[in-house]
Symmetry: C2
Subunit: 143 residues, 2 copies
DNA sequence: CACAGTACTGAGACCTGGTATCATTTCGCC
DNA sequence: GGCGAAATGATACCAGGTCTCAGTACTGTG
């Protein structure tokens, strides 16, 4: 098996700060991996019986800090979570099916950097979220 | 007086949908205008005595819908509000002083449009927020 | 293996931001 | 002035999230 296993990096990332990859943590990570869309905390909790609500919150917070999962803010302000690719990326959120696609697009980052520089800002981070309808939903119900 | 008064447009915008520019609404709008940074709901409420909490929430929601104010999501997820310019714009949020600057930068929008098109997305909207330190704060405490 | 120390957990109380309800008030218009 | 719609304030309520705490699981050291 040469395929990288997510647990592997999760475990080592946690270990690096004296944390452990426990059963509940593994379960939350797997639940997010199984899902075919972003989940709310509530949905994660339902997908993970035998794990307390507080633990789900704690775990999600921890995984966020470690960059193992990613918070997605929908257009209406509600938040959901998806497993993250470690690289810098942005999200496209489909209002039809709720799917979230990650994308990278250097021109956007480049434009942002240029702007910040010319305005004298020192960037520490940025968030870009796109809202609309994906190929699938457009094909299903074209205007 | 040729200078456009915000109340003017607010009143007409409201009237367009059968709404009224009442005392509490004017007060909320003015409180946001007086502030030199984005306010939380709580701060708005404190700045506006004699207005009920529920009314503040209702008013903010309404003003948002009308585009008269703008929601700003901070890096930690908390939300604040600033009076909006009616044009499409993005935000730069300073982690030092909390100031929010609006900016327009066509290259960013252009890059986003290009990306969406090539991926087959139908865009309905997008959010871009930049986080970092502004000129002032950099000057005050340079690294 | 025993033991000590730390990380972690579940249950539930709690806190906080926001909404729903409803009787009352305000405003625009006739 | 009087009518009806819009708006309001008080308050009860709900949901998302945190805190506390007693107990459990794991790690490593002798």
């Amino acid at each position: 098996m040469t395929r990288p296993r997510p647990e592997r990096s999760a475990a080592s990332q946690l270990a690096a700060s004296g944390r452990r990859l426990t059963t509940p943590r593994k379960a939350v990570l797997e639940a997010l991996g199984r899902a075919d869309g972003p989940l709310t905390i509530e949905e994660i909790w339902e997908a993970v019986p035998d794990v307390g609500r507080a633990t789900v919150f704690r775990t999600v917070k921890l995984l966020l800090e470690l960059g193992l999962i990613c918070r997605v803010v929908l257009e209406n302000g509600s938040v959901r979570y998806v497993p993250a690719t470690p690289d810098h990326h942005h999200h496209f959120i489909c209002s039809g099916c709720g799917a979230v696609e990650e994308f990278q697009h250097p021109p956007i980052d480049e434009a942002i950097r240029t702007l910040a520089e010319s305005a004298g800002f020192e960037l520490s981070g940025h968030a870009v979220e796109l809202y609309g309808r994906c190929r699938h939903c457009r094909a299903a119900t074209p205007d």
